[in-house]
Symmetry: C4
Subunit: 375 residues, 4 copies
């Protein structure tokens, strides 16, 4: 695989982003109305393979409920404003009101706002609110905070537990503290766990062996560029998804039949990106920006990730997005936008139909091409 000689002492493998590839129709076309985009993880079935990212600019209890009612899954960030403040609205107002052209001041203020401790009772309250609506309940913690808060989460009741950090490995080593034993943790938990980000065949295979129901592919979503600039770390998404899909297949073999779901997480700002993730083999897509463009989004047209307010090493900035319309229109149209930001499910169905597929599993076999850069 490492077939490129960077210099005499180092080889590297060439990797590809979603922008580098495109789908090609085959000799058969279908009706978009015949396409079924449903998928299932554990006992939970969804009409559409879209998962709302646990980011405060994307998912509030209210939008988690709305997304659930529209056939997707909203994941609440259990370390965000809703579990730090009884009434997060003034803080959201403040964050969304800060001008985007002064990122340093905004980063400082966000670091202050997010310094407020997480309140277990708010975790309980937020999850209950979602559960009462009748939709499937999912919340996320970072690996760093799991040991402190997972019992609260489990007691409050979640259907799906998400462990999400920039990079999560199955084998975290620490000299000063007992790290989380992910395998034991997942084994003892009653609910299915989705865990990531991860990229690469071997790290993903190890994560699958922990018993996770799903893995998140990608590092950092909205902060990918600053992660690359600051840390030199980057996972080109097309390659990352395809590698983890191979791990899924090999783990299915080795485990005698456990199918771990692969969820693309990052770099999917438009419906065409989601289409490509699914064609590369992802079972579902965790998305941020597309949902942050909905009228109901807590970020009100601003978009930021969880790394943006890290106290030591913040990454990612608030980005201004165009508000497209109500969430339902964002997902199902009718669209008046021509850039893949509206009628996302319609776009997925149309793409699948044009390429001759009517279900997600067979769509994973799609032929893709490498297109001229920016082409």
């Amino acid at each position: 695989m490492s077939d490129i000689q960077i210099g005499m002492s180092k080889r590297a493998r060439r990797t590809y982003s979603l922008d580098d590839i495109a789908l090609v129709p085959t000799r058969r076309t279908r009706d978009a109305s015949d396409v079924d985009t449903s998928w299932q993880i554990d006992a939970f079935k969804f009409d559409t393979p879209l998962i709302g990212a646990p980011m405060d600019s994307v998912t509030s209890p209210a939008t988690a409920i709305a997304l659930g009612k529209l056939g997707g899954l909203g994941v609440l960030n259990l370390e965000g404003l809703w579990t730090r403040y009884e009434d997060p609205q003034p803080y959201l107002n403040e964050i969304t009101a800060m001008p985007v052209d002064n990122p340093i001041a905004a980063t400082c203020r966000m670091q202050e706002i997010y310094a407020e401790p997480i309140k277990p009772e708010l975790i309980t309250a937020r999850l209950s609110e979602i559960r009462e609506s009748g939709v499937i309940v999912a919340g996320s913690l970072t690996p760093q905070n799991i040991q402190e808060h997972y019992e609260t989460v489990v007691k409050a009741g979640v259907d799906i537990f998400v462990i999400r950090g920039t990079t999560v490995s199955a084998q975290h080593v620490s000299q000063n503290r007992e790290p989380l034993d992910l395998k034991k943790f997942i084994y003892e938990l009653d609910v299915p766990v989705i865990v990531g980000g991860v990229a690469g065949y071997t790290p993903a295979l190890h994560l699958m062996r922990t018993g996770a129901a799903g893995v998140l592919v990608g590092f950092g979503g909205g902060s990918a560029m600053t992660t690359r600039r600051g840390l030199g770390i980057h996972a080109a998404m097309a390659t990352a998804i395809s590698d983890v899909v191979q791990a899924r297949s090999d783990y299915l073999d080795e485990s005698g039949g456990r199918y771990v779901h692969v969820i693309a997480d990052g770099g999917q700002g438009r419906s065409g990106d989601i289409v490509k993730s699914l064609a590369l083999g992802a079972d579902a897509a965790m998305i941020g920006a597309p949902l942050a463009r909905a009228e109901e989004a807590p970020g009100r047209g601003l978009y930021w990730g969880n790394e943006a307010h890290s106290p030591e090493y913040p990454r990612g900035v608030r980005t201004s997005l165009e508000v497209v319309g109500p969430l339902e229109e964002v997902l199902y149209g009718p669209s008046h936008h021509v850039d893949g930001t509206s009628n996302i499910v319609g776009g997925i169905k149309r793409a699948m139909a044009t390429c001759g597929y009517t279900d997600l599993k067979s769509f994973q076999r799609s032929e893709v091409t490498l297109i001229p850069y920016g082409g």
Copy 2:
């Protein structure tokens, strides 16, 4: 062909756009005045291999007539303003008057304007107007609307029937309705049929087997970028043309001599692009933007495609183009523009002569090179 490893579970083929290639002169040069650009499809012979795209911003009955008189072929969109409105001018005026910097409002209004039903009597009237001028008559329908309107078209009389959608396959499968049997349709029709868009060897070969006289290579013309962003689908034109040219050659063999014309449709904004299409083996070029730059163009310097007003999933925006001069000057000069937008036929002839060719068929054997991106 799929020799690039995107990731461990997916391979892809590298594809090329027209911008990626250039022609190289050989050891012999010719006089441009000795070059013959004529071509023939079925019984119809043309001085120049240029076909006006069936788009409302490009081809009106009047410009179809003008292009025919100047040696090309104009194809009227039979689902556009001219068949929806007795007098389309006020709607054209309105569309061309909307500012380009508010694309959403423009898309909404275009969706409303194009919601007006197609009137069979206007199909008849527009085709008659073109026929009366004495030029070759061609009109286009999308696959979706053929069954409803083709009898009107046939009765009104066309010399060449064009079936044009973003992607047209020979084998459309539908669960809820009887899809168009393209082979049977073409067989029973009396006039030659040009059908597309298509890309790829196999889809093109199947389309040729339906009995089509010509196939259109490419997806969506002016909306290619938004098709890529929204649907993740893209056909890099140089590769697409070259693949379909191979299908032409293999079908010629398999059919014992049927030559199906390959018509490049999309991405040919300047004369150099058309030159490249022809050098890659296309028999003719269906063009939009170059003709939309003519003073007579109905779009008056604005350019939009048929996907721009799709009610469910619009793609492509109105683009502002520089008005270059009268149609005759656009085609035959004299040119005062240095960017390949004027004296297009002169440019084609000069390029062919510089590379040592005097007819289109031998020009298809041209040597091409891959040039540095953007180079």
Copy 3:
């Protein structure tokens, strides 16, 4: 060589521009003061391998003389303003006064100004003026005008005769007129002939067989971009030079010792570009823009080529360049510019010394690398 599959029916060779490559120093360095940049063609020896392009914005009789006195060779365009007008200054004034943001009006006016016929007596006068200064005299004609004017040129007396067009082949074929028999023409002429542009091994080899003393590599100089857009024709300079250098070597063999000089012509806007041409094997560089930046340049900071006023198919626009300083400073410094536009000879010497070479012939063996695009 054609190892890239553009599509199933067409292969292509990958080509490289000067921007794609860079030099790498070896284990030895030299003093710049030890470097000798002299070169010789036929009986004529020059201190520096720089030839002023025959363009009205670059070379007047006065700057041809100045360049000659500074160790280079100025070539007067014998079809430019100086041979069309007794006093060209008002026309130069007019051309340089037209705003660059209205290229169409400028193209029209230049087409008018250059419609004035060439006057044989002015050819004679201009060449005499240069000859009287004592420098080596060189003038250029296009292939189209040679038969009409060459006797005037020969009678007026030139040391080096230049035949320069966008593309010049050894075998021009015409149905309506007797084309120039280049081989016979050169054989009968008493003075050495430099001819081009050409690109590619075979066309260059044929041109060398005509008896030319030198060939110009490249198409169109300042109009390369518009030639690509309008005609689809492009020669990536690094590849073109290297191919023609191979032809030089093979022709040296086949002819039993005739060394035809290879002169890079086009795309050399900065000293680094000239350095790369020489490292790729060129014997000298014909340059336009670098000299157009001299205070004495007739274009007064504006730069345009001979294709810019073509009556039928103009290509290239007037470009605004920064005026750097007197011609002597442009060539020999001292430099106060950091972008390779000043002290060009100093830059060449410094580059050669850094790479360990002290003469041009051995510098042609330099190692080059492919650098990241735009890198």
Copy 4:
């Protein structure tokens, strides 16, 4: 290695910049707090592998001391303003006050300011000032000035002697003067010598054989772009570092155990770039821009290199950088910047931990990938 055919007569090797690569985490992650970034050259040990470049905009005696106290090494340029002027502050004020949009005037004035001769007594005074602070003392001379000034330097006392030019070879050849015999010079000197820039395996191996304790990889730092434009010379950093690392390894073998340190010098504007250099095998990074962004930096937010005021052939311009905060914050945070300009050591530690490493030597074995350009 030279596997790309530029043209028929020239092959080239493809090279890569730091922007072309990225790190990929492995299956194991670590705690950032467990990471040790210390390194040692000769008898000198440092907490952090960061060396301040000897440039007047980056390193003054005061910032050399500050950097030393913070665990790094500051190298004073012994040919800069501090050794030309008793009080350099007025000249620094003048240089930093000149507008960046008039680079020619600034270059001229800098050429004047730097025309002032170097004063041996100021060399002595500046080095003494640093020594008195208790930090490790390092000063740099160019190869051209070593013979004149090295005795002053040695007498004043330095711990580490740096010889730094754009390109330094072990075998400089001159016809008119006795060049520096680097091997003899280093052998006779009592202190360890770091020498460069160099790129390429063979030149680096020869430089290692001179007895140098370390080599600087790269040409020209802040002036790399203008070196490429003016001289056509460029070293893509990722390839350059990897090649010199191979030379280090082979020289270790051939010398029976001498480990020459490889120090990346150039193109490392953000922490991610430094991370990549270390992952490619560099032992340390010489940095300019990141330190020029500190509040204490003498350039006060402006950044220029030593080539910017070359009397004959200036290269590089003053660039305006954002002032990030105090030097300590630039190195150790806490960061409020999301672009890799603050908490640089924190960024390095976090990257190493994420990739599963806790010391620099094993980090050199990191896996890297080639990422899509600009990706």
